[in-house]
Symmetry: C2
Subunit: 331 residues, 2 copies
DNA sequence: ATCATAGGATTAAACGTTTAACTAAGTGAT
DNA sequence: ATCACTTAGTTAAACGTTTAATCCTATGAT
């Protein structure tokens, strides 16, 4: 490996001078500068970021912890953050928690030891207990997609409430009154907020909401299937004519259930999803859904993180990114 | 930040002793060891991996460069590699080349400067020019999914030839004789190998292959659409009754074209894809396709990389992972 | 001729580890 | 009592940077 020392020797100067040339941190005479650059090129010198990180106490590395980077939603967030990092010459360490707080904690430890400059986190649990370590150590971090209760930290979220509201409003607009909702895990704020939006729209329309219309799902297709079966066996007088599923996967599960009993979408029953996964456009009929700005969330997380690295005293920011309703054929 | 120095002071020993205790690199008396652990716990000491990396010249960090980590195929590879890395206490830096050799090269530079212990690479170009730097510097690396011509390096690939062969054979078995192929970019070995498998199966069946049946696509849905339109306007005597698309996206594009002219799948024309993306199972009719062991490819890349880090003299290995045909309703 | 100053270079001390080399004390064997 | 060894600890030199502190030397101003 060639080091500053080698470059210095070849250019006939001290290593300090080489460093100054490389970083432009102090003026150097033209002749010397030229000699240094010549040596750098000839020796194919590349600075050692590890040594630099140790000395500067800034590694120019960020960490990202997500439940599952193969899940398109998180993959897109990761992509957004990676792009922003690259643009600012930061590297990104990727971590998968599998939704397991213990694994998440281990990763936090690793990232801390790795001396990352900041951490973006889609947290596994709702409890902030093991995140305290970040605050203690004063490590910049931003939480993404899910808010952590009682944790004053930077965060970037999709406007889930608005999404639930929009979806429900859209169904109301089409004349539906008996609108059901398939929720996600209630401890995830992203999911809970969507349900709140749904309830709000229903209240606003002056509809009294039956608790039979709210089915607790878990974001997986299976639970959407069961939810729909449950709705369909309700007595006709209270049987929903439309369903808002808190994510697309569950909506697709519901589709299957509806198809199985011989009903047609949207003729007999309307359906709205959430997330706008690629599948949503290809399923038959194409699914009306609420799109989140996932890529943008990743970028924004990066921006927030970098700004926090610059100024640790800035009060925590909370970014709500707008969602948008994509109307297709399922309504 | 608490350092070895702090721990040493509290335990009343030298920092060397603390290091020996932490790493178990030399025997230490029970009393001293206990004092050290006590201090470590009390001070919440965490080793600084940057300093360690500098000293040991081993960072325990790997790099992964893919064209697009949001693409499910690469995302799955990344996930496999990340899991393996975690299991061996390595961290993974994620890089997106966007299929641009220049960007790929910049990332290589960054990873080198970051002193990663090894690099896994789904290369952008077919030319190995800028990969030479890895060989020069003796940095362990493994190429994934696509072989680089004239580069003796570890690599892990899906058995694309076998995949093309299986897909075609499956169509032959169903009685088809006029089978067309929508290729991918010809400079990608993964794509070229699939076409070779197709040609081989056709030859084996004693069918003389018309060049009109081979349409050059680019792995995007649009090109599949155009390919199918082209096939459908061929004179009936040589019009294909089945199509093998070198990836699912193009197959789905073809589906649309076929639907548009009022033909039905598989009744009028059969269709096989490649990749088994999630979409393939949900499209109507569900697509027969060839599944690649993507996650496994990522893991295997990791294993190869770690083994190479252990022993740099081992001759390059070439792992061909088996693919499998998933028969659905499009054939 | 002297002095302050500025420009342009160097020296050397960090950053937090690991690890080779050394030291001191204890243990038997002779 | 001496010697050779072992055991358990310490010292100090790296690793490759950055950067404060210093040191020349030339340049004008006085």
């Amino acid at each position: 490996m060639t080091t500053l020392r080698d470059v210095a020797r070849r250019a006939g100067v001290s290593i300090a001078t080489v460093s100054y040339v490389l970083n432009g941190t102090r003026p150097v005479s033209p002749e010397v500068e030229a000699r240094v650059w010549e040596a750098v090129a000839a020796l194919q010198y590349r600075p050692n970021r590890v040594a630099r990180g140790l000395r500067r106490k800034r590694t120019h590395v960020l960490g990202l912890i997500v439940p599952d980077s193969a899940n398109p939603f998180f993959a897109e967030i990761a992509r957004g953050l990676e792009d922003l990092s690259f643009a600012h010459d930061y590297s990104l360490i990727l971590c998968n928690s599998d939704g397991d707080p213990a694994k998440e904690q281990r990763y936090l430890g690793v990232l801390i030891e790795q001396q990352v400059d900041g951490i973006a986190l889609v947290s596994a649990g709702a409890a902030p207990a093991h995140l305290a370590i970040l605050q203690q150590r004063g490590i910049p971090f931003v939480v993404v997609d899910r808010e952590i209760s009682g944790l004053a930290a930077d965060c970037v979220l999709a406007d889930n409430f608005q999404g639930g509201y929009l979806a429900t409003w859209h169904l109301l607009e089409r004349g539906h009154r008996r609108i059901a909702c398939i929720t996600g895990p209630p401890d995830l704020t992203s999911s809970a907020d969507r349900v709140r939006g749904y309830r709000h729209a229903m209240a606003e329309a002056g509809i009294e909401l039956l608790e039979e219309w709210v089915y607790r799902g878990d974001f997986r297709a299976e639970s959407g299937y069961h939810a729909a079966r449950f709705f369909l066996q309700l007595p006709p007088s209270i049987r929903p004519t439309a369903i808002f599923a808190c994510n697309d996967l569950m909506a697709i599960g519901a589709m299957r259930a509806i198809g199985e009993v011989g009903l047609s979408i949207p003729h007999d029953i309307s359906l709205v999803g959430f997330d706008d996964i690629i599948l949503a456009a290809y399923v038959i009929p194409p699914l009306t859904t609420v799109a989140q700005p996932t890529y943008e969330m990743g970028r924004m997380a990066g921006e927030l993180l970098l700004s926090r690295i610059q100024d640790r005293t800035r009060p925590p920011a909370r970014h709500l990114l707008p969602v948008r309703l994509i109307v297709r054929r399922s309504t």
